[in-house]
């Protein structure tokens, strides 16, 4: 590099004029650029979709820099999403296509799947309100990253929260829990959902599996507690039925389980899974013994 030395082939005034011209033009660029940016932003959003290149095409022409390009597109996703949120917009038309491009460019960009699905699934104005798009995104993520079991978790949550599709959620959690390296509570998740969704049998199965395979005493106990709660809930339901039957047959409400045993409805006094006796309270409802260690709240 050569540095300028004193003197030049033209007099000073000429050089000053050149500098002035240079600065003027540089400053003149600013309003032009601003004008272009303003007009661009004002363009209707629908036409925006047409101008995005396909992710597969981009991937081919990026000459090995796909992950860099993916990162750039990810920032564009964030920017687009942020802008739409700022405008309190209810339309996020480009979100899906941008995420598609991003994940086409780098199928292993986990964050795009995870947060992308959140952006997509949430209802407007928090998000795009497109849970099925979110599911599709996550499925693609799972195909490309089968070892990343958390995507199953995200999938399960979309089913659970946004679609209220409990069986599907359970299936997702279960599938995720079967991936190597998945944390144990994935199964817990599946089981809880199953319980809250009303599928006791599945839940019982899952909890007993957890209890059986638990490598850890706390997890085993936790699973056992859940199983107990499940069993207890089921038993309470059955006992309530029996009591109702007794009441309708005998014409008078039963005061205690003794009566049912005496009447032959029960062989023995019913005990919950922890071994404590069930209680028939004054209203005729079956309750847990206060000294029972079963925790029905686990079913919430």
């Amino acid at each position: 590099m050569t540095l300028p030395s004193p003197g030049g082939s033209q007099p000073r005034t000429y050089r000053r004029a050149c500098w002035a011209l240079l600065l003027l033009c540089l400053l003149g660029l600013i309003p032009i650029q601003r004008g272009i940016d303003r007009r661009k932003a004002g363009e209707p959003g629908a036409t925006e979709v047409l101008f995005l290149p396909s992710g597969k095409f981009l991937r081919r022409v990026s000459l090995g820099y796909e992950s860099l390009l993916a990162d750039i597109y990810w920032t564009r996703v964030v920017q687009y999403f942020g802008r739409k949120r700022l405008e309190h917009s209810n339309e996020f038309t480009l979100l899906g296509p941008l995420l598609q491009i991003t994940t086409d460019l780098d199928p292993h960009l986990i964050i795009a799947y995870r947060f992308g699905s959140i952006f997509l699934a949430d209802k407007p104005p928090q998000g795009a309100g497109q849970p099925s798009e979110a599911l599709a995104l996550l499925r693609r993520g799972i195909v490309a990253n089968p070892e990343y079991w958390r995507l199953w978790e995200d999938l399960g949550f979309v089913y659970y929260w946004d679609l209220k599709d409990y069986p599907a959620a359970v299936r997702a959690f279960q599938a995720g829990s079967e991936q190597p390296g998945a944390m144990d509570w994935m199964r817990a998740l599946a089981a809880r959902v199953a319980a809250a969704g009303g599928q006791m049998a599945t839940s019982r199965f899952l909890w007993s599996e957890i209890a059986r395979q638990a490598g850890n005493e706390q997890i085993r106990k936790n699973a056992e507690d859940h199983l107990w709660a499940l069993d207890a809930a089921e038993q309470i339901a059955k006992l309530n039925e029996l009591v109702a039957l007794y009441n309708s047959r005998q014409g008078q409400p039963a005061r205690s389980f003794q009566a049912l045993v005496a009447a032959g409805y029960l062989r023995a006094l019913p005990r919950d899974p922890s071994g404590a006796l069930y209680v028939l309270d004054a209203d005729g409802r079956v309750r847990l013994n206060p000294r029972s260690t079963v925790d029905l709240d686990l079913l919430q």
Binding site: S5, P6, G7, G8, S9, Q10, P11
Partner: protein, 322 residues
Amino acid sequence: MLALETIELTKDYRLGFWRNRIKRALDRLSLQVEAGEVFGLLGPNGAGKTTTLKLLFRLIFPTSGTARILGKQLDDVSTRFRVSYLPENPAFYDHLSADEFLNYVASLFGLSAAEGRRRSGELIDQVGLSASRHVPLRRFSKGMIQRLGIAQALINDPDLVVLDEPMSGLDPLGRREVREVILRLKDRKKTVLFSTHILTDAETLCDRVAVLHHGRLQGCGELNSILSLGASATELVLEGPSAELLDEVAPYTSSLVRTGERVRLEIPEEDQVQKAFEVILRRRAKLISVNPVKRSLEDYFLQKVGNSAESSQEVASVYDSN
């Protein structure tokens, strides 16, 4: 009328990584070249000759001082219509042929296409390149390039021709041709300024010379008057001189070289030469030749700056930095 005038022209270079060392390549050069004369710029390599010429053409800029070409300031581009320059070891566009190149140069001078073609055709013949006029320049030898360089320096029929080492790379035939070109220019009352480190070239051509060394003007004027400062020796070549003869002339002989039968004597004092002749005649020795010994430029410089190892290293290092 002065064709060229420099006034205290100075050029410093900043050297070193931090650009804090200053090397003075040209030190307050004040020179005048009259119109119509052939002026030589002499000096060893690194004396500042090329620096001076580049300053004249604004390829580098002076640290201080000024110059005037044909009466105009240096930054007046219009003077270049009447002046031309041939740099040392010139380089021209490889992909063009000789006539294409000259036509291009002609168009830069604003000559019409027809006029340009006419002049380039003439000049190609004049410098002896007629056979190669359509050959691409990348196939030219050094001598051919040099001749083309002379041609491009003449295409605008300049009043002042500036040549940097025009004889370099030429065989004796080429050198003679260049010498003839310069003499022809002189006949046409043009001014020629050329730099060289070869004394004989300057001798045969120059009306006046300026001698540069270490960036400083050591002397300016007619060559002989500069170099005859100090004694000039005489050389005698004898064949088969007797030992007694040699003994007799020994007191005023500064050097004696024997080559076979011939002996070369060098007698520094002019008045002693007459005595030598008398001895030779008396002894009937065979005198082959008598010649004045020309002092070389190197002798001149060594005398000027003292015969020290430092000065020759100085000369060498300045040469290297170019």
